[in-house]
């Protein structure tokens, strides 16, 4: 399809379809591609290798100050309000940070005489892997990570498909993809838009603009006010005030929730329609009602579309006309995106954008306690033309993220020690599987109800499931093993009723212990086909039948610590292993007799849950 360029917002430059009257932009009703079923604004995105920036962000390798030399350490008292005086400001200027988080933190940390907690490379790598790959690293990945400059490691991670996949999942959670509420084609479409943002193909304000009029948002919510509220939460991270809800809701009165009988899928899909409000019977703007389609919260904006031959009378209200959103032209999509376009030009939009990233990686909103960090990050995002990857890079390369969480001491200020978070259910299971050589299927959050599609008589619907990330077994059913396990732990959410949750409860713990037992088989009573092979649990060259000795206890324990935790055991841990191993050896244990309980002890430990 022929394309032209449309400019959206100050940073948003996209190519879009040539507007062809009466023809849905980028779509062809007669074609359905089960591998790429997206239908909607994603078809207007640039498809080539063009990026918002080259992805070479600065600030990844800041030299951290030697505080003892640069500032008077005695001034540091986290019990008192931290005031950055002249000396503090001079010190911060002298550090010449390029990383915006480090820069923002200086007046509350180094400049004031604080130090934070020293960085431990293995620990930081392990954290980075969970946050950007979605699982704990293998020992060879850890070795690769610790041997390179941190900025380079983070860049590799951000350029990886796993980074994009994890952020696609995060947005699936936020937008609660559910094919019962929203057409599967729209969900795939939004997924592509998210991927574009995290591949750096569109700036974040354009991303926000696209979300604002996307059926994943409009169709999921019932009323204009609900849609406005969802937009405020999504783009500003807060609910609207009453008058904001009512006013911005006026830009959502054109959306109507209806159904589309999909010719290829043979299913009636919930989909978005346009209801031609604020026009008279001839289709012209009705001055008497046009105010109902006009918002003034972020500047005067009137959103009215005129019906044409694509529309049809609404069978519920003969005076009203409707049009399926699949027939919207590029020009009409652009008009409908007014709420997001207006909102993404506000500073709070960017504040929320950086806050979301800070919370994603730190587990708390650093910019709330140190506002300067938020300001610096927003300016940094602007410097890189709204490329959201820059913000991710800045946070992941910051000292606050990299510092160790393990001091065994107390600390008053949250930002003076590293983040500790609970791993996602998928991450926990994927890590366990990866470490023990087990393999389960996957969930596909774009298609949260694969069974609905398999029940359809249409080959296209079956192909859609086959081409998704679900595994279909030889009986034609979806393999639920992974989903069932992960869902019990709070992941792989069916977004119809509840979203992802992280919880430590008796049942989640029991589930985790059960799974660790299955994989490690510490009591030698499980299915030998499903448990980890002894090769993985023993150091190279050690036979499963070898008689356990003091030396072998250390070797096995150290091997598994490295394998599972990515670190060497502490002296205390080794002593404990020796004490327990000696009891095993006294009962004539073999290497495997000892290795399997060690596997269970380590994999069922809280160190596999919190990172």
């Amino acid at each position: 399809m022929e394309t032209k360029t449309t400019v959206l917002g100050k940073a948003g430059v996209i190519s879009s379809c040539m507007m062809v009257f009466f023809t849905a932009c980028g779509t062809d009703e007669n074609l359905f591609n089960s591998e790429e079923p997206a239908r909607g604004p994603a078809s207007m995105l640039p498809s080539g290798s063009e990026r918002v920036t080259d992805g070479k962000f600065k600030g990844g390798n800041d030299t951290l100050p030697n505080v003892a030399a640069a500032a008077d350490g005695s001034a540091w008292n986290p019990e008192l309000p931290i005031i950055c005086d002249d000396n503090c400001r001079k010190a911060c200027d002298s550090y010449a940070f390029e990383n915006p988080v480090n820069k923002g933190m200086c007046s509350d940390l180094w400049g004031a005489g604080g130090t934070g907690t020293p960085i431990v490379a293995e620990e930081a790598c392990r954290r980075l892997w969970v946050d950007t790959v979605g699982r704990f690293p293998t020992s060879s990945e850890l070795d690769g990570c610790t041997s390179k400059p941190w900025g380079d490691v983070v860049k590799e991670r951000i350029d990886s498909p796993e980074f994009v996949r994890l952020n696609r999942r995060a947005w699936a959670d936020r937008l609660k993809y559910d094919t019962e509420s929203v057409s599967v084609e729209r969900i795939y479409d939004m997924d592509q838009i998210v991927a574009a943002a995290y591949q750096g193909r569109i700036p974040y304000d354009e991303f926000g603009t696209l979300i604002s009029a996307h059926p994943v948002l409009t169709r999921r919510n019932a009323t204009a006010g609900d849609r406005a509220e969802a937009l405020f939460w999504t783009l500003l991270g807060r609910p609207p005030f009453g008058e904001e809800r009512a006013d911005v809701g006026r830009l959502y009165t054109l959306w109507d929730n209806n159904y589309y009988d999909h010719p290829q899928l043979g299913m009636r899909l919930p989909d978005a329609y346009i209801r031609y409000n604020c026009v008279d019977q001839d289709g012209n703007v009705d001055k008497a009602t046009s105010g109902e389609c006009t918002s003034v919260t972020f500047g005067y904006e009137q959103l009215i579309l005129k019906p044409d031959a694509r529309s049809k009378p609404d069978d519920r209200d003969k005076n009203s006309r409707l049009m399926w959103a699949g027939l919207l032209t590029a020009n009409e999509w652009e008009k409908l995106q007014a709420p997001g376009r207006l909102m993404s030009q506000q500073f709070p939009f960017w504040e929320n954008a950086v806050n979301v990233v800070l919370e994603q990686y730190l587990g708390y909103r650093l910019a709330t306690s140190v506002p300067r960090v938020g300001e610096e990050l927003v300016h940094y995002a602007m410097k890189y033309d709204g490329d959201i990857r820059a913000v991710h890079y800045a946070v992941l390369t910051s000292f606050v993220y990299r510092q160790s969480a393990f001091t065994g001491q107390d600390a008053k200020l949250r930002y003076t020690y590293g983040p500790v978070k609970q791993i996602d259910a998928e991450g926990w299971v994927d890590s366990m599987d990866g470490m023990t050589g087990h393999k389960l299927s996957k969930c596909d959050l774009r298609l949260n109800r694969p069974g609905d599609f398999l029940q359809s008589d249409s080959p296209a619907a079956h192909a859609l499931v086959e081409d998704s990330e679900w595994t279909v077994n030889k009986d034609g059913d979806v393999d639920d093993a992974y989903k069932d396990l992960v869902r019990n732990l709070g992941g792989c959410p069916d977004n119809s009723q509840g979203g992802r949750f992280k919880i430590v409860s008796v049942l989640t713990t029991a589930n985790q212990l059960n799974y660790a037992t299955r994989l490690c088989d510490p009591a030698f009573e499980g299915d030998t086909d499903k448990r980890a092979s002894s090769d993985r649990l023993l150091p190279k060259g050690v036979s499963a039948k070898e008689v356990l000795s003091t030396d072998l206890i250390s070797q096995i324990y150290t091997h598994q610590m490295k394998q599972f935790y990515g670190r060497a055991p502490t002296a205390d841990e080794l002593t404990s292993a020796q004490t327990n191993g000696a009891e095993c050896a006294a009962g004539r244990c073999s290497a495997e007799d000892f290795a399997r309980p060690v596997c269970f002890a380590l994999l069922s430990s809280s160190e596999m849950l919190f990172y």
């Binding site: 009636r268 949750f501 799974y515 841990e573």
Partner: protein, 468 residues
């Protein structure tokens, strides 16, 4: 159809009615007052020990089942003419569906006491006009927000009803624990919406189970040697010791659940919870084999079976999902088939609850309330009662609005409410008769009947009084 509603001045104030419940219709507004007898033991009124709440998933067309004596456009399947004597609520022909009573297997089920649902409609009560937001101008027929209301009472509600129940019964559970007893919490089968929890309630999120068994929760039937157990304990101790002091609570919480898991593991591993073990051993007067026979092999049937066994261990409430009723197309063919499954679950519960001996005396029937609900009703326009694709949709009108919720159990029959309907709709327009129930009041009633502390939830909605 329009959603015409009389001005409040011309009829009962809906808000007042919500506070007064059914009694308000007869005797004017009532303020909920805790029953002083029960108040000595709990903040609610009590009355049942267990609630089984069945979610008819996807938006259920209540008029085709529980409010069926309405015009064809609302119930194209028609009202049943074969209901049990004394039934005043509008049972639909779809409740007659019972293909499981056919053939040799069916004869065996009949011998166990299984009947068509329409044969015992006089033992069920229906609240015909339950509404998410009685003061709202339109129904919430949207999947996302309708479900949020169904699960939590509000759009974006932070706490699911099962979290509230778990929180509400905390004193009971703590008391039992202090006596060395292990009492199971409420359970959520399937989706986690009812198990949301935030702030002080987060710790009371009930377990969410995917599937119909506890096989994945039993981590060992063979005890590990002490040295192996010590190694696991030492790993957690080491993790805790390395943490910042304020973060140790995270590890402590995990270690705490590990210890609790030991307590629960015996229950999870018990044969009683192995609903597919075909055991003939009778517990509470019925075997797993008999229960499996009653409920059949559907997912909902197996979960209903398991729910009864969880009740044995003191669980106050279980919710499960049944069906996929979002039938925008081919509802004309598929709804009768889908109803066969829920009919069997209802009939199986009717038999099992009456047969089972409750640990506290009497039958489970006397202690249990079975309730069916959904996020909204459904709508079709035109005389056929179906949309152009043979299905139904959901919008803002009264057909979507009214959730006609059935209740079954000893509390219903012992109070003479069997067969009654409260909140009647017009046959041709579905207009209410002035009696409308807030859905939050229904949820609060659950808590009240379970003797669960509900003082912190839904301040504007009182439990329904006068009914039970």
């Amino acid at each position: 159809m329009t959603n015409s509603r009389k001005p409040l001045s011309q009829k009962f104030s809906r808000r007042r009615l919500l506070q007064g419940g059914v009694a308000a219709a007869a005797a004017g507004p009532m303020i909920w007052i805790p029953n002083p007898v029960y108040a000595q033991q709990c903040t609610g009124r009590g009355g049942v020990d267990h609630i089984l709440y069945i979610h008819l998933g996807g938006g259920f067309r209540f008029n085709t089942a529980f409010n069926g004596d309405v015009a064809q456009e609302f119930n194209p399947f028609g009202p049943s003419r074969n209901v049990a004597k004394g039934t005043e609520w509008g049972a639909s022909t779809l409740l007659e569906g019972a293909d499981w009573l056919e053939g040799t297997d069916g004869e065996a089920l009949k011998a166990l006491g299984m009947k068509k649902v329409t044969d015992f409609t006089d033992e069920m009560m229906v609240l015909g006009t339950v509404d998410h937001e009685p003061t709202a101008g339109n129904a919430d027929g949207n999947h996302g927000t309708g479900l949020e209301r169904f699960n939590t009472g509000y759009v974006a509600g932070e706490n699911g009803i099962f979290t509230m129940i778990n929180y509400g019964v905390r004193a009971k559970i703590e008391a039992a624990t202090a006596e060395g007893k292990v009492v199971l919490p409420p359970f959520v089968f399937g989706n986690s919406g009812m198990a949301r929890g935030a702030g002080p309630y987060a710790a009371y999120r009930p377990p969410v189970i995917s599937g119909d068994g506890f096989d994945n929760f039993v981590f060992s039937s063979k005890p590990l040697p002490d040295w192996a157990k010590n190694m696991a304990t030492d790993a957690d101790k080491s993790m805790a010791a390395r943490q910042i002091v304020s973060n140790r609570a995270l590890i402590d919480a995990y270690v705490g659940t590990r210890e609790s898991t030991q307590k629960f593991s015996e229950i999870f591993a018990s044969d009683l919870l192995k609903t597919r073990n075909n055991s003939t051993e009778k517990v509470d007067g019925i075997s797993n084999q008999e229960l499996a026979q009653l409920f059949g092999d559907s997912g909902a049937g197996r979960q209903a079976h398991l729910a009864l066994r969880l009740f044995h261990y003191g669980s106050p409430a279980v919710t499960l999902d049944q069906g996929g009723y979002d039938m925008h197309s081919r509802e004309d063919d598929n709804l009768p088939k889908a109803m066969m499954e829920i009919n069997r679950v209802i009939s199986g519960l009717h038999v099992a609850l009456k047969k089972m001996d409750h640990p506290n005396g009497g039958k489970y029937w006397d202690h249990t309330l079975v309730v069916l609900g959904s996020e909204f009703g459904r709508t079709a326009r035109g005389e056929s009662g179906f949309n152009s694709a043979g299905g139904s949709d959901h919008g803002g009108d009264l057909a979507t609005r009214w959730m006609s919720m059935p209740f079954m159990g000893g509390l219903v029959t012992s109070t003479g409410l069997g067969g009654k309907q409260f909140g009647v709709t017009g046959k041709n327009d579905l207009k209410d008769d002035g009696m409308v129930f807030s859905y939050r009041s229904v949820m609060k009633t659950f808590m009240d009947l379970l003797c669960a502390d509900h003082s912190e939830f839904f301040p504007d909605d009182a439990p329904i009084t006068g009914v039970f």
